[in-house]
Symmetry: C2
Subunit: 117 residues, 2 copies
């Protein structure tokens, strides 16, 4: 979903990480990203921690390492999270204000969802 | 998703049609239902017509008759539409107020989406 046209670059690359701004995300991509319960768990966990304090490895997820990386990549591509590397850790931030601006109410529904039983 | 416990029946059966009340729908089921572009097209079309004026056959959808029936069944099970049969026609109503109450903002995002290109 990286995209640039002339002078205006709408995606930001942090080292090797491609980010998509929420304003560039389609409703389809947002719904696809939020349609997975593991990804919603990540978002709820992130919402409960200050920005840039949670490394990917600190999330308790019932998936393999490869699947975990895929989930974070999908969240990044849907404008839901921002990531940056610090040493060997990849830190995360929930893009709550900017996602809310583009998809009002959607993240609120996810964050209010009861944790998976 | 039909469910009844003693005196309180939360789903309503109209002849052979099972309905689920939005309050009984999980976020997962709502997101799954809304994750399909054909189903979102049906909802946008319905929103533009008065209740109970649109028969299933009047929607211009790029799918077979069987797939069409499946999409309407998914929307019914997710608390998004109500249906009733009148003669040979199956009429539809968008359950906008009650769905909005349970999932504030979600249907607004779908209805505001530009039609598929």
């Amino acid at each position: 979903m990286e995209h640039s046209d002339g002078g205006s670059t709408v995606s930001v690359r942090t080292r090797n990480l491609t980010h998509t701004a929420p304003a560039e995300v389609s409703l389809q991509d947002a719904l696809d990203a939020l349609g997975d319960p593991v990804r919603r768990t990540i978002l709820r966990d992130l919402a409960g921690s200050p920005d840039w304090t949670r490394a990917c490895g600190t999330f308790d997820l019932p998936v393999t390492k490869g699947t975990r990386s895929h989930h974070f990549a999908v969240l990044r591509a849907a404008g839901l999270i921002e990531q940056r590397d610090e040493g060997s850790r990849r830190l995360n931030r929930l893009r709550r204000p900017e996602f809310d601006e583009h998809f009002p109410g959607l993240l609120d529904l996810v964050l209010a969802e009861p944790a998976a039983r």
